[in-house]
Amino acid sequence: MITHDVPFIMSHLKTEFGKITMDELEVEVQAIKNYAFDPAGSIDILLNSVFSHAEFCEIAGAKISDEQIINLAYLLINKF
């Protein structure tokens, strides 16, 4: 029986199984760079993608700063 709470279990699963290789990180970086923002859709979709990317980078041990997150979101919007 598991007696730990949710944050502990999540953290354990991330540490044990959520490892990301550099190849996977590279694929993720390319994917976000190629992300096509649809202005007809909600801005939340873009922001969620950016935040997910930031989380992915953090798990991979290549954390990006808040400034980089904001810059990335601007870049993706400007690309449209």
Binding site: I2, H4, V6, P7, I9, M10, L13, F17
Partner: protein, 133 residues
């Protein structure tokens, strides 16, 4: 709150799709997002209230990073109802009501914790939890 109060009613993701195979980063991220969305939707005055019960799925460090969040005082088991000294009937009634409120808050907190834990365990193959100490 009425007796039909259900946490599920607040959840935006009422069902959690099972992650097949290894709990990889993408799978964990999906589950984590759904948990955050669901717990944030459950109203509570704890921790200032603006983040709902999100604190249940965040580590202390993550909670501290939330903008404007107040540290959460976790409801404790108030234990059996006892009276200290002589009190008037009105005071006894007030203390009793406060005790019942504390019990209700404690149980609500424990029930939601339990629901979330069970959902998390159901989301992955049980074999991946064997390594938890």
């Amino acid at each position: 709150m009425s007796s039909s109060y259900k946490f599920d009613d607040f959840f935006s993701n009422k069902t959690l799709n099972k992650v097949h195979g290894l709990p990889d980063t993408q799978g964990l991220q999906k589950v984590s997002k759904k948990f955050k969305r669901n717990t944030r939707a459950v109203i509570t005055p704890l921790g200032g209230g603006q983040y709902g019960r999100l604190f249940l799925v965040l580590s202390d460090t993550e909670c501290n990073l939330l903008h404007g969040a107040v540290s959460v005082v976790v409801p404790m088991d108030p234990g059996p109802f006892t009276l200290a000294g002589r009190m008037s009937a009105a005071v006894i009634s007030m203390v009793e009501k406060a005790h019942v409120t504390n019990i209700v808050n404690y149980y609500k907190f424990q029930v939601l914790k339990c629901i979330l834990k069970n959902r998390l365990i159901e989301a992955f193959n049980p074999v991946y939890f064997n390594s938890i100490p």
